[in-house]
Amino acid sequence: MRCVTVTASTAPARWEYAPAPESVKAPIREQYDLFIGGRWIPSKGGKRFPTINPATEETLSRVVDASATDVDRAVEAARKAFPKWSKTKPTERAKYLFRVARRIQDKARELAVLETMDGGKPIKESRDVDVPLVAQHFFHHAGWCDKLRYAVPFRGRDHDPRPIGVCGQIIPWNFPLLMAAWKLAPALCCGNTCVLKPAETTPLTALALAEIFEEVDLPPGVVNVVTGGPSTGKALVEHAGVDKIAFTGSTEVGKRIATTCAGTGKRLTLELGGKSPNIIFADAAIDQAIEGIVNGIWFNQGHVCCAGSRLLVEESVLDEVIAKLRHRLKSLRVGDPLDKNTDVGAINSAEQLDTIRRYLKIGDEEGAKREEVINGPLPSKGYWCRPTFFTDVQPSHRIAREEIFGPVLAVLSFRTPEEAIVRANNTPYGLSAGVWTDKGSKVFEVARQLKAGVVWCNTFNKFDAASPFGGYRESGFGREGGRHGLMAYLAKT
């Protein structure tokens, strides 16, 4: 095993930062029931489990592992709400969504704090990225409600865009509130009703969103929130009263869901895993590319389905890129997610930390060279992983092929654009890709040839409510956001 550790002592003198904790407090109830039919109702048969702060391991609240009976009640409520909601005048439906957007803006800071506490992501990100995008997503889709005929002209029976029905929506723990928005906003905009199941480890912001739905008088049953683990999700996917399943999560679970839905006539959209290439050409603006690499893999601790986890560097600048990356990492701050200066927060769960550590070991055993930067001590409690990158990686290595979903980068090289494209596309996934070059014609030709749903050119990890997001191949199907995202929530015929 070769592992190089760069410690602060080898780094130039650093500024010491005083702690800068976010001062706003997020209201958290001691325990939450289920949000079904516009009311908070206790579970029938579901046990309670704690949701913890992964940065402190403290219990924040206790939520319900919803039973099949609970799911049944939630689907029933959504079914009951569907006829009226789907026939509500679109301009009126829009007003509810506009209200939600405004209410999210009102409560932006406390939602950001709650997201950071429940999930471990830096407050800088939840405050400046997640929550603003959530508000924008509702605002953007509010505006679509009365314009669907222009979004998909002459599509569907009588050329009249119609909703699908009851949508079962299962979301992951990496962007809990943002994924809730990506699922709910387009579904509601098109006139569907929803049963949302947030991830087991990050239920709190979905429940806070349910409180917002109450506050804006969204009609009962239009959105129902059932917390829980895999069995809750399974009950929702199998439920005969659900017309459409939308899932964001791992490719493995996505395939299981597709199997369950086969032959049932249920509509399905899947937003799954990735092992996205980030390609740096020698003619790129290298300093900007370094920022793109950092943002690509260490944003949200690498818990990002579209993370640029495979770095492909043109051989002539490989040494320069690695040297600059190493230098840049020395100023990447890992620690308390509620500290406003923190760049990399806590790993979301003990289970995920185990997965990441397993891959670090695999990388060592495969003969890749591991580097991590020790930049100050880590908190004594909580789940942590320092930003890490591997060099001497072969394309056949598991760390270059499999999704790690952590702050771990695999660095590979290439000699020609053709080789870069072949290597980039050599994966069953196809979610995102990055291209860095100052040559305009090269940007577009490489972008054309990459098999990926989102191609970031001279940038990375940018998101917008108006910009469709989703993958090729085993990264799933369907798009979320913008005009294209609406199609997933409208009947086809």
Binding site: Q136, V152, F154, R155, T251, G254, K255, A258, T259, C261, A262, G263, L270, L272, V443, A447, R448, A452, G453, V454, V455, W456, C457, N458, T459, K462, D464, A465, A466, S467, P468, F469, G470, Y472, R473, E474, G476, F477, R479, G482, R483, H484, M487, K492
Partner: protein
């Protein structure tokens, strides 16, 4: 003495060539009066794999061709169909026992359908793609790109119109197609093979197999180099086989429920629409900063 007619040997179309099934199998094809007409090649799993390999190789170049060029190739297919429309009419009449007028109507509609898609190639980018107005200094746009290798499973009837209506939107977008012909009347597909082979369609871009749909379906579902399937099926069990199989590899699948042959294939608004192309494109969204 009466002249002995020269009968045609029916083969497959794979990679621009006309092989027999590698399995050596044939199926008897009977006419409407149950008389033997021809021996039809009974495609095997291996034939499917060969077709996929040919399609995979051909697809990248077909997608890279200009849309104008693809449009002309599709139009050329229509020209060849028009020239051989008598043969197509006969193929429908002999096997299906249709009147000349009914068969002619189907052939005419099929030719017109191809002409319609010949005109779509350079318009789907505008109709299915768009610029995205994002809240930041970025130039951001979404473009439709071909999904890749697409298998088309034609229903029994209308043997020609359905085949053409399913294949045209797929290849129009820059995909390569492998079409599984109507079980009931593969003779129209045999004529289409010859039409396609003389229409400037690059080898491998359109491949046609005859045989048994039900036998090929599980292999179509499981093959990992096939990126999408477009099938008009009237049997719930066949639909389930296909959807279960694709769950393992997440290929795109569009099943048109054709229960009782209820689909109206003559409906131009449905079958000549960009929404019949959209399931076989992937939307790619490209971001670039805009700054000085």
């Amino acid at each position: 003495m009466t002249r002995i007619p020269v009968t045609k040997t029916c083969k497959l179309l794979i990679n621009g060539a006309f092989p027999r099934s590698e399995s050596g199998r044939v199926l008897p094809l009977l006419d409407a009066k149950k008389r033997h007409v021809a021996a039809i090649a009974h495609a095997s799993r291996k034939d499917l794999r060969d077709a996929v390999e040919a399609a995979s190789t051909a697809q990248a170049k077909w997608a890279a061709a200009t849309a104008y060029n693809r449009g002309q190739v599709l139009y050329r297919i229509a020209e060849m169909m028009e020239a051989r429309s008598g043969e197509l009419v006969d193929a429908i009449r002999v096997i299906e026992g249709s009147t000349a007028a009914i068969a002619r109507r189907e052939v005419d509609a099929s030719i017109d359908r191809v002409v319609s898609f010949a005109g779509w190639t350079d318009k789907i980018g505008q109709v299915l793609g768009n610029q995205n107005t994002v809240a930041g200094p970025y130039y951001n746009f979404s473009v439709p790109e071909p999904t890749g290798v697409v298998v088309v499973v034609a229903p029994d009837r209308p043997s020609l119109l359905a085949l053409v209506s399913l294949v045209a939107p797929v290849v129009c977008a820059g995909n390569a197609a492998i079409a599984v012909a109507s079980d009931f009347n593969p003779l129209v597909a045999v004529s289409m093979m010859e039409i396609i082979a003389t229409s400037d369609v690059p080898a491998g871009v359109i491949n046609i197999l005859t045989g048994r749909r039900a036998e090929l379906l599980p292999h179509i579902a499981s093959h990992r180099e096939i990126n999408a399937v477009s099938a008009a099926l009237s049997d719930a069990a066949e639909r389930r086989v296909l959807e279960l199989g694709v769950a393992e590899n997440l290929k795109r699948v569009l099943v048109l429920a054709n229960d009782g042959g209820k689909l109206n294939w003559y409906d131009d608004e449905r079958f000549a629409s960009p929404w019949s192309i959209e399931p076989f494109v992937e939307i790619k969204t490209i971001w670039h900063p805009s700054a000085c």
